[in-house]
């Protein structure tokens, strides 16, 4: 077991966003969490990244280490957990190359950094063509590629992806998911994906969880969930 989340509770003031959810991920797996708007998907990823505080009693362990002992930047630099945030959040004032380089801020393995830049460019040749362009001027699809590439540069043990399909045309969406599959295959990167696009997510992932108003209500293999009548009705459009 790579990541274990137990009884995770998060509140924003009075609003309770997560009511004690628990799940596990093994090394090398691709797992998705599906749910409607406001279900708490982004909150879950932000809690794992330590971007937001969690309620007492929540436990999150990664390779046996408690994530609560790490600050957000250390989760990335010491544990190799990267996070593609919702809405990509690229640094629009920096170039493509600078965005990739910044993600290696704490890395000391110079030669590997060069290799990884090469990997990103081989997966997304478009980015290499545009490496001196400001990230803010990229198209939506290119921005998503850069967001994935940047996360890969910062840490590739576990990647947390927040709606990578958002705003992408179907074909581009497929190519981003293909790239993620390639990273998972070749680098052994474990992937935790949250998506509103349940069909896409379940086709891509091996297992899935269904999050509803801050609680996990269903879990299972992707085929099971795709065939589940409740899931079909609520998330797959009948």
């Amino acid at each position: 077991m790579l990541l274990s989340v137990e009884n995770l509770r998060v509140s924003y003031g009075e609003i309770k966003a997560l009511h004690g959810i628990s799940f596990q991920i093994d090394k090398g797996e691709i797992v998705c969490v599906i749910g409607a708007n406001g279900a708490g998907k982004s909150t879950t990823l932000q809690a794992i990244s330590r971007l937001i505080p969690v309620e007492p009693g929540s436990r999150m362990t990664y390779e046996g280490k408690s994530l609560l002992d790490y600050s957000a930047d250390k989760v990335v630099s010491q544990l190799g957990i990267s996070h593609v945030p919702e809405g990509r959040r690229l640094f629009g004032n920096l170039t493509v190359m600078e965005n990739l380089r910044l993600a290696t801020f704490a890395r000391k393995d110079g030669a590997d950094i060069e290799r990884d830049v090469g990997r990103v460019f081989s997966i997304f040749p478009r980015l290499e063509e545009r490496k001196t362009q400001k990230a803010g001027t990229l198209s939506g699809g290119e921005q998503q590629m850069l967001a994935v590439g940047r996360a890969f540069m910062s840490g590739r043990e576990l990647m947390l992806l927040d709606e990578p399909s958002m705003g992408l045309a179907p074909l581009l969406m497929l190519s981003v998911f293909d790239a993620l599959k390639e990273i998972n295959d070749q680098e052994g990167t474990t992937i935790l994906l949250v998506e509103q696009n349940a069909r896409m997510a379940l086709k891509f992932a091996q297992r899935g969880y269904v999050l509803e108003s801050g609680s996990l209500v269903l879990e299972g293999d992707s085929e099971e969930l795709l065939a589940n009548p409740e899931v079909k009705k609520a998330y797959l459009g009948g």
Binding site: Q46, D73, S77, F91, L102, F105, R107, S154
Partner: protein
């Protein structure tokens, strides 16, 4: 000729404003915060320069160490910058970091109070007496086609420009500078790059304070009297230059600092000197009305939360 004479004076005054303005501008850019204690950090830098240079001169006069004056000057600048950067980092740690999640107004008040603290601290330690800064540069005057230039002015303007160039390169070319620019755009997700926010915040304060200390030492060399309230007089004007330059822009703050020097000196040349600030700052106000975001300015993301 009088024009060129004024130009030289404007360059020197502009150097002070520009060096101080950079500290305001960087902190505003990176942390979205007005550091109202910064003028007083400039004052503290001047006093630290005063202590360092007086100490070194005393050592040299005792014959304890052989220190040529140029070396004392160089050491004074370097040590004042180094030590004052810690004052700046302390200001961040004590005055701003605990308030990072608080409303902006609280941070502004905190800065003002730290400023008052620094003024009264220096007053308490050094007394209300004005201090004369030791002469670190033996004054030589050159006459170039009727324009009188002192070697002090040349050193001050040149070293100031070098420091600004160094800062520009640091911000553009190093990974720390890159992290600062990223924070200026969208600080919320910067930790996801493995970048420790607190380190970059401290670095930003440290760099700005070091430049303010250089301005303080140069001020001491040029005017040679220091008092605990000099930071307020010059700080506020440099703050204006920082806003005029555009949020977080090194080039903008430097240009606006020099421009402020020019406007003040040339207004005083044409009009009675008691009108100087009235007219000079009316001009600035007019420019700001036309360019409310200043000359340049780092772009930032509209999303300032997760």
């Amino acid at each position: 000729m009088i024009f060129f004479q004024n130009l030289v004076n404007a360059l020197q005054l502009g150097s002070f404003y520009a060096l101080i303005a950079l500290g305001y501008s960087m902190v505003y850019g990176v942390l979205m915060l007005f550091n109202f204690a910064h003028g007083d950090v400039f004052m503290v830098g001047a006093y630290i320069g005063f202590l360092v240079s007086t100490g070194l001169l005393t050592l040299a006069n005792l014959g304890a160490v052989a220190l040529p004056t140029w070396l004392i000057l160089a050491l004074t600048i370097i040590l004042a910058m180094f030590l004052t950067s810690f004052v700046g980092m302390l200001v961040e740690r004590v005055g701003y970091r605990p308030l990072r999640g608080a409303p902006r107004a609280s941070a502004a008040i905190s800065g003002l109070m730290i400023g008052i603290f620094l003024e009264t601290f220096v007053l308490w330690l050094g007394g209300p007496k004005r201090r004369s800064f030791p002469a670190l540069i033996e004054s030589t005057t050159y006459e170039l086609g009727g324009v009188i230039v002192t070697n002090k002015k040349i050193v001050i303007v040149l070293v100031s420009m070098l420091l600004m160039l160094a800062l520009h390169l640091f911000v553009r070319r190093t990974k720390w500078g890159m992290a600062m620019r990223a924070m200026a755009y969208d600080y919320v997700v910067v930790p996801l790059m493995g970048v420790p926010l607190n380190t970059i915040a401290a670095l930003t304060f440290g760099l700005g304070s070091a430049l303010a200390a250089a301005a303080g030492v140069f001020f001491g060399i040029a005017y040679p009297v220091l008092d605990p309230y000099m930071g307020i007089r010059y700080g506020w004007k440099a703050f204006v230059a920082a806003i005029l330059g555009g949020r977080g822009s090194v080039l903008g703050a430097a240009l606006a600092g020099f421009m402020l020097g020019f406007i003040e000196i040339f207004v005083a040349w044409i009009f009675p000197s008691t009108w100087r600030d009235l007219i000079a700052y009316s001009i600035i106000l007019l420019i700001l009305t036309l360019r409310p975001h200043g000359f340049f300015g780092e772009p930032y993301s509209a999303q300032l939360r997760l």
